[in-house]
Amino acid sequence: MRAALEVADQQYVTEVHMLRSKIKAIRRSVLEMSAAAESGLHIGASLSCVDIIATLYFMKMRHSPYRPDWKDRDRFILSKGHAAPALYAVLAEAGYFPKEELKTVRALNSRLQGHPDLRTPGVDAPSGSLGQGISIGIGMAIAAKQRGSKSRIYVLIGDGECDEGQIWESLATAANLKLDNLVLIVDRNGWQLDGRTEEIKRKVPLTGKIKSFGWEAYSVNGHDIEKILDVLDLCELAEGPVAIIAHTLKGKGVQFMEDTNEGHKMRLSNEQYMDALKELEEAY
């Protein structure tokens, strides 16, 4: 018994180590895309949630790039669709499509549209218009239950996105239906298009608001993958929908844009790209 636990512990350490090296590669992909896309892309919002998405795909979700339409797979909905580069980089790393394709993001005829679209292998739901992901997740959660499937549904929204009324409609619905196969993650980076989230429209107390709708809710450092994993484990024990408020930094990992709105939508210059790569090397 003790030996078995030791093996499990060691395996966990190995897996976390492997996840870290994958995240490094994924972050590099996001930077490459940011330098490649001519009109720029939402790099700040992608870098704030990339650790969360990678942790889900490589440590938590049951899915297969060889069977993207496997019925009993877990699903991921990127409701904050402007962070598409983060999702694309993760999907490519997971093997859904060749990594070389990443640099075609936002180009004419590319399978990698500016915002998530079903033409991309591995994308479970279209998004881009904010506020709709939880509702879509509810539909998937209901369908899974009707099929008797163990499939779990993960929805990632932004904190700015919480301005949308539909978010609160759907929070009420999910609690009412006691959907214990639905997990919401809020990328709480504190910024939206026009400025600080609390200045545009106050979100605080976000955790309290979500709890008051009948959800369990937890806070976590959204860049600490072990903490993210712990709380994702916890979600599996819940008897209803669970929300994770992931505290993150917009533009995480690139000094000049970290926790600013500099990188809301931009193209990295060659110099910025080289500096960012150097930072990445030093951090990992």
Binding site: K71, D117, L118, D124, A125, P126, S127, G128, S129, G131, Q132, G133, I134, S135, I136, G137, I138, G139, M140, A141, I142, A143, A144, Q146, R147, G165, Q166, E169, S170, A172, T173, N176, L177
Partner: protein, 304 residues
């Protein structure tokens, strides 16, 4: 209409186990209580939150279900952006049924009268837009839309109960139904208003080719163009704004394929108001006698 639809939906539920019905606190008013009682595990009253409902339907469709979203037509429009961005863009298999459309919500007033729904739904790529009117046609359409893969908007009224189609199978998506032969004028209409058109033509001394067009998108190009060719003059009648509905669809088609004068009868770029259904139809020129007078005027003008 809603009662006929409700019965058909319950029947469909017994044949197709993937059908799921979603509504927003209008289960009794839209006629879906029969389905709710027969299949409680496939029925969801989500409450008064149309945007959420369309999103949930999208998720169900993405997981292989066949969701029917049943709402009052005017308030389904509240979720038009969700329909555009998610349902239509990804061509999801969501069936949307809007009841109480046109002037049928009558005394409720203009807030409850959907006169623009066909226009805005028709503008969406991938969307099928249907306006059945005959009782058997409504029942058949309710089942037929489950057979096609893709988004559908089906527009219904409230209490109309008319029967004007004959034959074994009266409805097919994309098919228009000629109801009479005539050479002076072609009259295209849909919904229960076709019953008024038939009466209008029967009473008048004109030779009109009446064509019922329940499928606004896709439209039956062949039948519409042939009728225009045979008569050289076209009138469209609908319980909808004259902007963007059946009349526009016919005019768009004919302007390219066979340009002839097209007159559109409907609500003339205005909102409705409270009144009885008959009063409102009369006010907007949609009762048989009004249509009959309009046809005579159009033909008379053309001859002089």
């Amino acid at each position: 209409m809603r009662a006929i639809f409700g019965e058909a939906l319950t029947r469909l539920g017994s044949m197709n186990h993937e059908v799921v019905v979603l509504t927003g606190d209008v289960a009794k008013s839209t006629g879906v209580m029969g389905f709710a009682k027969a299949y409680p595990d496939r029925f969801f009253n989500i409450g008064i939150s149309e945007q959420d409902i369309v999103g949930i339907a999208s998720g169900l469709a993405l997981s292989g279900k066949v969701p029917y979203v049943v709402l009052f037509a005017p308030f389904l429009m509240r979720a038009w952006e969700q329909v555009r961005s998610t349902v239509a863009r990804a061509s999801l298999n969501v069936k949307m049924v809007g009841t109480h459309a046109g002037l049928s919500a009558s005394d409720e007033g203009s807030s409850h009268q959907a006169l623009e729904d066909v226009a805005i739904m028709r503008a969406l790529p991938n969307m099928t837009v249907l306006v059945p009117g005959d009782r058997r046609e409504i029942a058949e359409a309710t089942e037929a839309i489950a057979e096609v893969n893709g988004p559908v908007y089906m527009r219904l009224g409230r209490d109309e109960n008319v029967s004007f189609l004959e034959g074994d199978r009266v409805f097919r998506i994309g098919r228009a139904v000629p109801l009479s032969d005539g050479h002076d004028i072609a009259v295209f209409s849909n919904g229960a208003i076709t019953a008024e058109v038939i009466r209008a033509v029967e009473g008048a001394k004109i030779s009109a080719k009446v064509v019922h067009v329940p499928s606004v998108k896709p439209i039956d190009r062949e039948t519409v163009v042939a009728a225009a060719r045979e008569t050289g003059r076209v009138v469209c009648v609908e319980e909808h704004s004259v902007i963007g509905g059946l009349g526009s669809a016919v005019a768009e088609l004919l302007s390219v394929e066979y340009p002839v004068p097209v007159r559109r009868l409907g609500v003339d770029d205005a909102f409705g108001e409270s009144g009885t259904n008959r009063e409102l139809l009369r006010k907007h020129g949609l009762l048989a006698e009004c249509i009959s007078a309009a046809l005579a005027e159009i033909i008379g003008r053309g001859a002089s």
